[in-house]
């Protein structure tokens, strides 16, 4: 019986594999799965996996490079025609997955649905990253203009955003209610049946369970290398690994460092990893009565030995930042700043100076576990706090407590939404931004002035100087400590050639030409 089972299962999986190689089909088992697919509304780490196969921005970049190198996307050329106006020439003959041809109207609609958002979830995204855009307008059938409110230094970066991917106007308007009007219900329905211009079209989507991509034959660029990709939600890591070994799946996402040895030991499997462009962070509530004294928060920060945790939990593969900066920022990458470091003696001194009386510091974290190694890190941090005499307690809850006045400290992540400090630190810590608005961070006129120079100055050195100034303030009165750039891994069968591309935002599963290949069965 058991032999029969084994033989049958093997035969099935072998057949599936051979068939897959011939038919260019793969299955991905993902630890997280989207509940809707709307690149405009979404900015989650879960959703970012899936949009790039379906949609195009006006301006692409060479995603195989860390340094930005802009490439034509749905726009073939672009130039500034005024201090706050950019003119873009559109690519001709681009088809949407529903067969419609992309027009300047579609492009203007796509941009203005975000710039002048009426749909509340879009309004939120508009404010947190697209606030400087005023409007888009059509010039002729293949030309559009985009206007900003103030001079913009990040044109290409912003036009490359997932939120500004181009979508079909008529299709969306017709989804609900009046087919000629934009209604909220149109966008609600859109999230379940998105249509883009990318190399794959969405063949099936069961929210929270499964996404099936199929090659889109009328794609304007290099054809998709795969005929069909099925992404399945498999929350258990052991099950994902098992699925790889049995041949049920070809790629598994969200592999923790502790599993890497296992994959290396398996002759049929390999792992690819990268330091994802985000920080796992600890945030503090600077307005909590017991946390108001900056010395307390500095001590909590200085007490955390991030290098030890990197060694132990990440096998040394994470990157420990000295300041809130990552290599993707290019000219604005400033590792020379020393904002965050480990110094337990200084921590003890500061605690004594601040008169810490042993009160309990509650450390909130997401439950169920959300970030790789988050539960382990939280417990290790409690131990490190205890070592300098701080009485910490973990409080794992499913609720977001960042806006709760009783929150003292919490784990979170700060992703790079676009490759600039403004797209990472800036999205969260701008004056009047989410951190301040939620009441756990304060800014004053000096901070705002430094911010202003950092964000809108056209002189690189001035921007850098202003950012250094901001970091100095963060160091002296810390509202956060970035723990590390996590090392995230994907496990796959040997015949699959895929790796995360450095030019993407975190977690993108890029299956476009050049990003993935299947070796012939050997």
């Amino acid at each position: 019986m058991s032999h029969l089972l084994k033989a049958t299962a093997l035969a099935t999986s072998l057949a599936a594999l051979i068939g897959a190689a011939q038919a260019q089909e793969i299955t991905v088992v993902a630890g997280n799965m989207s509940s809707y697919l709307d690149p405009g509304r979404d900015h989650s780490n879960v959703g970012s996996q899936f949009y790039f196969n379906l949609f195009d921005p006006l301006i692409h970049r060479d995603y195989s490079k860390l340094e930005p190198e802009w490439l034509p996307g749905l726009a073939v050329s672009w130039q500034l025609v005024g201090p706050t106006t950019m003119e873009l020439k559109l690519r001709e003959g681009v088809k949407f997955h529903n067969g419609a041809t992309m027009t300047a109207d579609d492009v203007v609609f796509s941009l203005n649905r975000m710039f002048q958002a009426t749909f509340p979830p879009y309004q939120v995204r508009q404010r947190d990253r697209l606030g400087n855009f005023d409007r888009a307008e059509k010039v002729d059938a293949l030309t559009i203009r985009v206007h900003t409110k103030r001079e913009e230094t990040l044109w290409e970066t912003l036009l490359n955003l997932q939120q500004l991917y181009i979508v079909p106007e008529a299709y969306i308007k017709a989804l609900a209610g009046d087919p000629n009007a934009v209604e909220n219900d149109d966008f609600e329905a859109w999230g379940l049946a998105p249509v883009g211009t990318g190399p794959y079209r969405l063949a099936e989507f069961v929210p929270g369970q499964r996404i099936v991509y199929e090659r889109f034959d009328d794609f304007w660029g290099e054809p998709a290398p795969l005929a069909r990709v099925t992404v399945r939600h498999v929350p258990e890591v052991a099950s994902r690994l098992t699925a790889l070994r049995t041949g049920e799946a070809h790629i598994a996402t969200n592999i923790a460092p502790d599993q890497l040895a296992l994959i290396e030991a398996d002759p049929g499997l390999k792992a690819e990893g990268s330091n994802t462009a985000l920080f796992h962070v600890v945030i503090f509530n600077v307005n909590h009565p017991k946390m108001q004294d900056p010395r307390i928060r500095r001590a909590l920060s200085l007490a955390i030995d991030r290098d030890l945790m990197n060694e132990a939990l990440w096998l040394g593969k994470a990157i420990i930042p000295s300041t809130h900066s990552i290599a993707e920022f290019g000219a604005l990458y400033m590792p020379e700043l020393k904002t965050f470091y480990y110094d337990p003696e200084e921590a003890k001194r500061l605690l004594a100076e601040a008169g810490y009386d042993g009160f309990e510091v509650v450390y909130d974290m997401h439950s169920p576990s959300y970030y790789t190694n988050d539960t382990l890190a939280a417990q290790a941090i409690m131990e490190m706090w205890a070592a300098v005499g701080v009485n910490g307690r973990i409080n794992a809850i499913p609720k977001w407590t960042g806006n709760d006045p009783n929150m003292m400290a919490r784990t979170w992540s700060n992703p790079m939404y676009f490759a600039d400090p403004a797209g990472m630190f800036g999205v969260m810590w701008a004056p009047g931004g989410p951190a301040q608005s939620e009441g756990r961070f304060n800014t004053d006129a000096d901070y705002a002035a430094a911010w202003e120079r950092f964000r809108f100055s056209t002189d690189l050195e001035a921007r850098k100087a202003a950012y250094a100034e901001l970091m100095e303030r963060i160091k002296n009165d810390p509202p956060l400590i970035p723990l590390w750039r996590p090392y995230e891994s994907w496990a796959m069968r040997k015949e699959v050639s895929w790796r995360p591309q450095p030019g993407h935002i975190p977690y993108v599963l890029d299956f476009r030409a050049g990003a993935i290949a299947l070796d012939a069965m050997n």
Partner: protein, 308 residues
């Protein structure tokens, strides 16, 4: 009999309403779903916009009435997270759960009834104790422990069986085994005890006196009479165990069922899905129980008279 049925029906309706109402208000006590769904990094302004958009600024009574209206017009709203009608979401998960429960139940009945009878017939011999010890062991192994080890051994090490989802018959083996282990154990014990009860009664002695073989006595008379008790157990205890087990099993085996959906919606405070899901499950449980009650009443004349 009719009055009995009507009374059962009325009690069902009350139970149902109580459960649904409790769930409705209990979830709302625990906080704003916005803090569970798209919470992080919202300015207070954005937060206000979204609260209005999701109609979470309405009073609880208003929301409750809107929810109750759903029974009238069938509109139970969109999921906060998936933005699909909750009916679609819940219904597409009912069948996988039903499949899993049915296959586990079939395996349970096939194993537990013979084992239970065996244990009763050989109560004082080693075989009886062996069966019962096994049953206790089966009951003592938590579902999740069994699942974790089954996956490790049969899938990860041996690569014999798939573990992801419910695509083929092979996918049913491990989840069914996991779910059935506790059920077999429980039902074996109940069957044995019910049989012991029946075996000691007068009509069994009469049957034996009539010269029927022990086998025939047990199968024809014993089982039929013990069946009533067993039926009620299958309905209540086993249904409870199965519901609990399916939550665990579905979570571990990525089974797209309703147990996993309920847990996830509760954690993320997806009220519309949670409400409709609880409503559906409660309805199913209550209907099954009522059917068993009726079958019980029909099979047991004393009860029928009491009701009349």
């Amino acid at each position: 009999m009719l009055r009995y049925a009507l009374r059962t029906l009325a009690r069902m309706a009350v139970t149902f309403l109580v459960i649904v109402t409790l769930v409705f208000f209990a979830t709302r006590i625990s906080g704003n779903p916005l803090d569970f769904i798209l919470a992080d990094g919202l300015t207070s302004e954005d937060r206000a916009i979204l609260i209005r958009y999701y109609e979470l600024d309405r009073s609880w009574w208003h929301q409750y009435l809107a929810f109750l209206r759903g029974f009238w017009d069938g509109q139970f709203g969109l999921s906060f997270i998936e933005r699909r009608p909750v009916g679609t979401i819940v219904l597409e998960r009912l069948w996988p759960t039903a499949q899993l429960l049915l296959s586990a139940m079939a395996l349970t009945l096939a194993l537990a009834l013979p084992l239970g009878i065996l244990a009763a017939m050989h109560r004082d011999r080693w075989i009886g104790s062996a069966v019962m010890t096994l049953a206790f062991l089966g009951y003592a192994v938590p579902n999740f422990v069994l699942a974790v080890f089954l996956i490790l051994i049969f899938a990860y090490w041996l690569n014999w069986l798939p573990v992801v989802g419910n695509a083929t018959a092979w996918h049913f083996i491990l989840p069914t085994l996991t779910l059935a282990s506790g059920l077999v154990a429980a039902l074996t014990r109940f069957t044995r005890n019910a049989m012991l009860d029946v075996l000691g009664q007068d009509f069994m002695r009469t049957a034996r006196a009539k010269g029927l073989s022990e086998r025939a006595v047990i199968l024809r008379h014993g089982l039929r009479n013990a069946g009533i008790t067993i039926l009620s157990v299958v309905g209540l205890q086993v249904a409870g165990l199965a519901a609990a087990g399916s939550v665990v099993v579905e979570s571990i085996f990525a089974w797209p069922g309703i147990g996993e959906l309920l847990v996830r919606s509760a954690i993320r405070r997806d009220y519309p899905v949670l409400q409709f899901g609880v409503l559906t499950v409660a309805f199913a449980v209550i209907v099954i129980n009522a059917l068993i009650d009726l079958a019980y009443a029909w099979a047991d004349p004393r009860l029928r008279q009491r009701g009349a």
